[in-house]
């Protein structure tokens, strides 16, 4: 993560790969929050596409220190135990999670919905927020 805490940065992550179903698209870091954007494509594994929801205690873990930042705002996806039932295998959902601002000099984070979870949980490991990937926002 870039050092200047007063500037907002975008980390575009088109190549990031994970076993979790929603695609981790991009992360925005600002002085007041950290925003993570996801895209979910319903799957033909389930009849009518299955369902989605997010745990209210989903958190970012700073790999270097182990510090946890709990999600404080959830946009466009129900919070468990509520859930969104898709109506077809072709449905899709764009959603975002907001966390507290990241401390400076952070290079790698995990994003965890469930500790010791399985592939159905939205867990993402070793997300790199290196200076090379950071783009300053206007």
């Amino acid at each position: 993560m870039k050092n200047n805490p007063n500037i907002s940065f975008l980390y575009n992550l088109p190549e990031y790969k994970s076993n979790a179903s929603p695609k981790l698209l991009r992360i925005t870091t600002t002085p007041s929050y950290t925003k993570v954007d996801f895209g979910y494509q319903a799957t033909s594994y389930y009849i009518s596409g299955g369902w989605v929801r997010i745990e209210k205690n989903t958190f970012i873990r700073i790999v270097k220190t182990g510090e946890k930042l709990i999600v404080n705002r959830i946009e466009n996806i129900p919070i468990a135990p509520q859930r969104l039932d898709f109506t077809s295998t072709k449905d899709w959902l764009y959603f975002s999670l907001y966390f507290p601002p990241l401390p400076k000099d952070i290079e790698i984070i995990d994003l965890i919905e469930a500790e010791k979870g399985d592939t159905k949980d939205f867990n993402y490991f070793k997300i790199e927020l290196s200076q090379n990937n950071a783009i300053e926002l206007c």
Binding site: L10, N12, L13, P14, K23, L25, R26, T28, D37, G39, Y40, Q41, R73, E75, N76, I77, P78, K90, W92, Y94, S96, I135, E136, L137, C138
Partner: protein
């Protein structure tokens, strides 16, 4: 930004929050946060309270928004769930204001400005007449082709500004054909309308080429502070001028496309050419026309050929003739 314009943007943000069925009953804090996030500076509670009051009661605005506060859900809602300020038609004051503006614009007749805006002006005038028939007892006397709602059109101003100021953007895009999300960085060159749908055309860093993105498939565009990449002018001209529609077929170059049409379709094409490169190569004694186009083949052109398959036949290039035939056969199989 003028205060009035910003107030209007706040009304739209508040309306979007209250209308959002995914997150019903937004609280006052939620509305404040939403306005702050979109407009980039702080608002206090009284500003948003005044906005809500104006949306409910301000006669000049004319929204008459049925905003209620739910104590049990601790948030705001519309008592009419179908209500949105986007559905408010023009009122008499709006129409008078537009009329004055149109009269003012008409003063520029014959100038370059007029040439450039003539097409847009025609549309506005037509829509204006649509709203105000001369004899009000007659009801609507003009009907234009307009979709009932325009998903993604809320991004129009954002992309207009980014394009005119040459600012790269990042947005999340969902491809209807690939059923995939992607976060892309684009250097926008043009906004293009085709059959009532709006698209942004620009250089995509992800694809390393010029690409077209439908505004309806775009989520949360952001402005980026990085150098703007210009494509070679010749490349842009080819892409913008010599394509029917918006999605050129990858790896295809500009080429002559020849097709034969029956007289009934030929008459339409003589009155409404498909493209400025349309040329009548031959007219048979039975009225059949041989027509050529000089274009980069596009998905929309193939769709046009398919939709008129009983009235035309593609002659050249052969690959396109085969493509249209195969798609037609595939459609016939789907009917069985």
């Amino acid at each position: 930004m003028s205060l009035t314009k910003e107030a209007y943007i706040r009304y739209k943000i508040i309306d979007a929050c209250i209308s959002n069925s995914q997150e019903p009953y937004p609280t006052m804090d939620y509305l404040i946060d939403a306005c702050q996030e979109k407009l980039g500076h702080e608002f206090n509670k009284s500003t948003i309270q005044k906005d809500i009051k104006a949306m409910k009661y301000d006669e000049l605005l004319g929204f008459n928004a049925p905003i209620k506060f739910s104590k049990s859900n601790n948030g705001y809602y519309y008592s009419d769930p179908k209500y949105s300020i986007n559905k408010i038609p023009l009122n008499t004051t709006d129409i008078e204001a537009i009329n004055s503006a149109l009269e003012l614009i008409a003063e520029f007749k014959g100038t370059r400005l007029n040439e450039n805006i003539n097409h847009a002006l025609e549309k506005v005038l037509t829509e204006f007449k649509e709203y105000v028939p001369k004899n009000s007892s007659q009801g609507k006397i003009i009907q234009t082709d307009a979709p009932p709602s325009h998903k993604g059109f809320e991004h129009f101003e954002f992309f207009y500004n980014a394009t005119s100021q040459k600012i790269p953007v990042c947005f999340v895009h969902y491809s209807y054909s690939k059923r995939k999300f992607n976060s892309v960085i684009v250097h926008p060159y043009m906004l293009k309308e085709f059959q009532n749908h709006w698209y942004v055309v620009g250089y995509s860093e992800n694809h390393n080429q010029l690409r077209t993105f439908g505004l309806d498939r775009i989520y949360e565009p952001l402005l980026l502070k990085k150098d703007f990449i210009e494509a070679p002018t010749a490349q842009k001209v080819e892409y913008f001028k010599y394509v029917y529609g918006v999605y050129p077929i990858p790896k295809q170059k500009r080429q002559e496309i020849i097709f034969m049409v029956k007289p009934i379709l030929g008459d339409y094409l003589l009155a409404h050419p498909l493209h400025e490169t349309q040329h009548i190569k031959k007219k048979e004694s039975n009225g059949t026309l041989i027509i050529s186009l000089d274009l980069i083949p596009s998905k929309e052109l193939i769709n046009y050929f398919l939709s008129n398959a009983n009235l035309l036949k593609v002659l050249e290039p052969k690959w396109m003739q085969k493509e249209v035939t195969n798609l037609h056969l595939s459609a016939a199989r789907n009917e069985k």
